[in-house]
């Protein structure tokens, strides 16, 4: 159900922007837009399916805390 909602949402997003690009023959824009759309759709599908996606912020936290040693003590 969640996956279906994500699909519908992305079809709506594509419907808002893609016709304009096709009409004006903006092929480069359309290519880049499509790549981004598919990437974000895959991310959304993973999140909607309940698959645990690694958080970039946690990676940044581990980098600053464990590698650089830059972290305050917990109050």
């Amino acid at each position: 159900m969640n996956l279906l909602l994500v699909c519908i949402a992305f079809i709506c997003i594509a419907a808002l922007e893609v016709p304009y690009m096709v009409k004006n023959k903006q092929w480069y824009s359309l290519t880049v837009y499509s790549v981004l759309l598919v990437s974000v759709f895959v991310l959304g599908a993973l999140v909607a399916s309940g698959i645990k996606v690694p958080s970039p912020i946690k990676a940044a936290q581990a980098f600053y805390k464990d590698i650089l040693g830059l972290s305050f003590k917990s109050p």
């Binding site: 992305f10 304009y20 903006q26 824009s29 837009y33 946690k58 972290s71 305050f72 109050p75």
Partner: protein
């Protein structure tokens, strides 16, 4: 894009900065957890130490008038390294937007609508942000005056209404904590609410020509510092030791308001104001992210245009609308990012108290300083070539 230079005045910029910082002010619990009864002083030290950031941003923008942060990176570092640094800035803006959206979702889910899934709350919130930006960022900035009056009015009225419940001895003992706590508190205030005005550097091309950036930024930070001080002071003298324990001291202190048993539940006013301010803040961050991504992915970026304000060149994302072309995709990305950014509120709080200041300092201080240095050195190098 239809946006033109001169869409936003310096007054709009100043008030926009006030509104931007207010969203974090009303969630100042993280500062009280660090410096306890002396947290009000962090507003003063935070303001003073954030001034160098303002001067750095102003110097960069003065050297490259009419350009936003992404364009400045391209000019200073070249097309390849400039894009790498710009991607880092975009990661920062996207992370801030996702974290703030998540904060808002947690607040509404915990305090207002506990039976509503957080996914739905954040989704509706992001739709609101997208709608706001579809109507134009300049309209949002013009509206910031009303938002600022609303939020400052709410703070003042709430302060007056809790006056009879205050206990000034909760401020004692003064400045008895270990010095490292004051350093941590100051750095937290400088980086988390105040330094995030870096996002406004993406709006610079919309400012009037020959605008002085320093004055509106400094005044915006000054007013924000005053409100931060007042809010934290109110929370401490109302809640006392409880201020360190609760997650939202401002929310809890406003709950004390009860005039003759009639004027109660003022925290609902606080909640509405907070939601509106968060909408403003996340909209600015979303705009910065979407515009930056558009600029990076465009074949012929805006700054290579023949005339100022001309944004439709061959290969550039053309849009007849007043919002960045990649707005919807960026909003979807930030929505999904906010859902998996942290698994729990405690992880978020821990991040904010320990590592977030250093993470933010990298983008708010280190990268702009390096950019300014490189720009200065390249400028000197070119001057010597001309002389020889």
């Amino acid at each position: 894009m239809k946006l033109e230079q001169g869409s936003i005045s310096t007054k709009d910029l100043m008030i926009g900065i006030i509104c931007f910082i207010q969203a974090t002010v009303l969630r100042s619990g993280y500062i009280v957890g660090i410096t306890r009864q002396d947290s009000w002083a962090m507003a003063v030290t935070g303001f003073l130490f954030s001034l160098p950031l303002v001067f750095i941003y102003a110097a960069l923008l003065k050297k490259h008038p009419g350009k936003n942060l992404i364009e400045i990176d391209d000019i200073i570092f070249g097309p390849v390294l400039g894009k790498i640094i710009s991607v880092l800035y975009l990661f920062f803006f996207a992370s801030l937007a996702a974290l703030n959206a998540r904060d808002l979702g947690n607040f509404v889910a915990d305090y207002m609508m506990p039976e509503t899934p957080i996914t739905v709350i954040i989704l509706i919130f992001m739709i609101g942000c997208v709608y706001t930006l579809c109507k134009g960022i300049e309209n949002l900035m013009h509206l910031s005056a009303i938002l600022a009056i609303l939020s400052i009015g709410a703070i003042v009225i709430n302060f007056i209404l809790v006056l009879r419940d205050i206990q000034p001895w909760f401020l004692k003992p003064l400045f008895q904590l270990e010095p490292m706590r004051y350093v941590q508190g100051t750095v937290s205030v400088v980086t988390v609410p105040m330094g995030e005005i870096l996002a406004f550097t993406m709006l610079m091309p919309l400012l009037e020509k020959d605008t002085k950036i320093v004055k509106p930024m400094v005044l915006g930070l000054l007013f924000s510092a005053v409100t931060i001080g007042i809010v934290i002071l109110r929370d401490i003298v109302t809640l006392g030791p409880l201020a360190e324990i609760v997650s939202l001291p401002s929310f809890e202190s406003v709950r004390y308001v009860s005039i003759s048993g009639i004027l109660t539940r003022m925290e609902s006013v606080y909640a509405v104001v907070l939601v509106i301010l968060f909408l403003f803040k996340v909209s600015i961050l979303l705009y910065a992210f979407a515009l930056g991504l558009t600029e990076i992915l465009s074949r012929n970026p805006r700054h290579s245009a023949d005339s100022e304000g001309q944004s439709c060149k061959a290969g550039y994302f053309k849009s007849q609308k007043s919002h960045p072309p990649l707005l919807f995709i960026c909003a979807a990305l930030i929505y999904f990012y906010s859902l998996f950014v942290f698994e729990s509120v405690m992880e978020n709080v821990n991040w904010g108290a320990t590592t977030a200041p250093f993470f933010a300092l990298t983008f708010e201080f280190l990268l702009p300083v390096v950019s300014l240095l490189v720009a200065f050195l390249r400028g000197n190098g070119r001057a010597k070539e001309v002389q020889s």
